[in-house]
């Protein structure tokens, strides 16, 4: 468990203190995949680095598993860090070492382990990330996705309980992003380690995270389970992120000439696959136009979101039926 207690960070620029992160109170549970989303300069990178103290809070405290680590120094700090893996946007592999030596690097830094044990651990990790065949190659000979897999193997080498992901997929193409995110989700399930990731893409959050914090101007402006935040974004920044991920239309002004009132229906879980609309139409005789829609998954939960124009004498009855079926309805102003 990671807990920020009023942790804040300011940088000194030309003698003046510039705040990067306002006091944050936040708890990240053990074993969850926690996403932090924000634009560049929102403070997400700083927040992530407070966890392994690559950045020290200007004020406030950071607790890991109930222990205040804020003031850790020297050997204590290095021990803390060796229990926290980290992967990076630009992979940050040692270009002068092979894949196998990169993965072995944190183990060799810590000393103690004998060479046979290190070799065995490296084999195991390369197998986990699917790079056994590339053990003797140098990073420059690998694709971006393969480099990130090396990064992941290296981060996991010393059995950390926390994995920090710093824009880990931002330099990758969409297909590679998907496979790296799948690997992260798989690692989270199999090893039960806590993953904290920062990103500027809502899609990354939707695919792997359990909960999300939205950061804007150094403040946490929204926090909650991904499905809640994704389907019912409250803060304008969150809405923008969701709209980008969703290519969402459904604004009233975009549908001139369509009769009736506009509604956005959000289905979640099993409701997504039930024939609700056709039943409601049959029962109440309302008519509808489907204006936009999407059926997808948030992590493992199916969801759907439809924008409809509805009209008919028994419209209110129809809305009640839909709501009773556990589907959220918001009216969209036109």
């Amino acid at each position: 468990m990671i807990r920020f207690a009023a942790a804040s960070k300011s940088y000194r620029v030309d003698g003046a203190l510039v705040p990067a992160l306002q006091p944050v109170d936040l708890t990240i549970e053990a074993g969850e995949v926690f996403g932090i989303i924000g634009h560049s300069g929102a403070g997400k990178s700083t927040l992530l680095r407070l966890i392994n103290l690559l950045e020290r809070p200007t004020a406030g405290k950071v607790f890991i598993d109930g222990r205040d680590v804020t003031a850790a120094q020297g050997a204590e700090l290095r021990k803390l860090r060796s229990g926290i893996g980290m992967i990076f946007q630009h992979f940050n592999l040692l270009s002068s070492r092979t894949v196998a030596d990169n993965v072995a690097f944190p183990l060799r830094l810590q000393g103690g382990a004998d060479d046979a044990a290190i070799v065995a651990r490296v084999d195991e990790l390369l197998d986990l990330v699917g790079l056994t065949a590339h053990a003797r190659k140098y990073p420059a000979q690998l694709s971006g996705g393969q480099k990130q897999r090396v990064g992941i193997a290296r981060a996991l080498a010393s059995h950390p309980s926390i994995l920090l992901c710093d824009e880990a997929t931002s330099a990758l193409d969409p297909q590679t992003t998907a496979s790296v995110l799948e690997l992260l989700a798989d690692i989270n399930r199999r090893l039960g380690l806590t993953i904290v990731l920062i990103t500027h893409e809502m899609d990354v959050i939707r695919r792997v995270c359990d909960r999300v914090a939205v950061l804007d101007g150094g403040n946490v402006v929204e926090l909650g389970p991904v499905a809640d935040v994704f389907l019912h974004p409250q803060h304008p920044t969150t809405r923008r992120f969701v709209a980008e991920a969703d290519h969402r239309e459904g604004r009233g002004a975009e549908f001139p000439g369509v009769p009736g009132r506009l509604f956005r229906l959000s289905f979640r879980g099993e409701a997504t696959y039930s024939p609700l609309l056709s039943r409601v139409v049959r029962d109440t005789g309302v008519e509808y136009n489907l204006l936009s829609g999407r059926v997808d998954r948030i992590k493992d939960v199916p969801y759907g979101q439809l924008t409809l124009a509805m009209h008919g004498e028994r419209l209110d009855d129809a809305l009640v039926q839909i709501r009773d079926a556990g589907v959220d309805i918001e009216e969209v102003a036109r």
Binding site: N52, L54, L77, R78, K79, L80, R81, S82, I84, M86, F88, H90, N92, L93, L94, S95, S96, R97, F105, P106, R108, L109, Q110, Y138, P139, A140, R154, S158, L164
Partner: protein, 224 residues
């Protein structure tokens, strides 16, 4: 008369051979000590610079000033200024051993600056990743910075070795021996153009060999 004697009437070949050996000894000795002193100094400069692992801006400013001062004194002046120091360290002020002290003091700051520049080329992200893995500063220097900068460090060594060839030739003027001394004494003062030609040609060959050796190592160590 053999063709060699016809072409180079004045040359005493065994003397040229001895001068080659002297030059190589001065070069080897001074390069060794230049690296021994300059490498740690370069690492120190790098670490204490603003925004680096052990940023100490005031210390950096002092180190930087000392390096700059030593680099700005013309080598020939430095050699004369250092005569008392040389005598204190080696017991002699001339000859091969006597030349090595000013050669090192002239070249080490130069090499240190090149080392600093080479280390700055190392990706900051890699250093951050090492810190995140719990590396100590000593581990970051020996296992990350120096290996990652290997190609740049070899290139810096090559440049320094070539500069040292030039310095050794100047050392010849104040009695350090070597090819430079022959070029000056016989070629220039004694007006024997064949001496000038042969000694300069040998220096050119030496520089070429050093440079291509360095280039070959650089391309072998480049893994980007």
């Amino acid at each position: 008369m053999s063709p060699m004697q016809a072409l180079f009437p004045n040359i005493d070949w065994p003397e040229i051979g001895q001068a080659c050996i002297d030059t190589l000894l001065m070069l080897g000795g001074s390069l060794l000590f230049t690296i021994v002193l300059g490498l740690p100094l370069g690492v120190w400069l790098f670490l204490t610079a603003k925004g680096q692992l052990h940023a100490r801006p005031k210390l950096y400013a002092v180190l930087s000033l000392v390096v700059n001062v030593l680099r700005s004194i013309p080598f020939i002046i430095l050699m004369i200024l250092l005569i008392p120091v040389t005598q204190a360290i080696t017991g002699v002020s001339i000859g091969i051993r006597g030349a090595i002290v000013p050669l090192v003091i002239g070249a080490a700051p130069f090499f240190a600056r090149l080392v600093e520049t080479a280390l700055r080329e190392v990706d900051r992200g890699v250093i951050e990743a090492s810190q995140a893995m719990g590396a100590t500063t000593a581990q970051i220097v020996t296992r990350v910075l120096l290996p990652e900068a290997r190609a740049g460090l070899v290139a810096s060594t090559t440049v320094t070795a070539v500069a040292l060839v030039g310095y050794t030739a100047m050392g010849g003027i104040v009695g350090a021996g070597g090819l430079g001394a022959l070029a000056y004494q016989y070629g220039y003062n004694g007006y024997k153009p064949d001496y000038m030609l042969v000694t300069v040609a040998l220096l050119v060959v030496l520089v070429q060999v050093l440079q291509s050796l360095g280039d070959r190592l650089v391309s072998r160590y480049s893994r980007r």
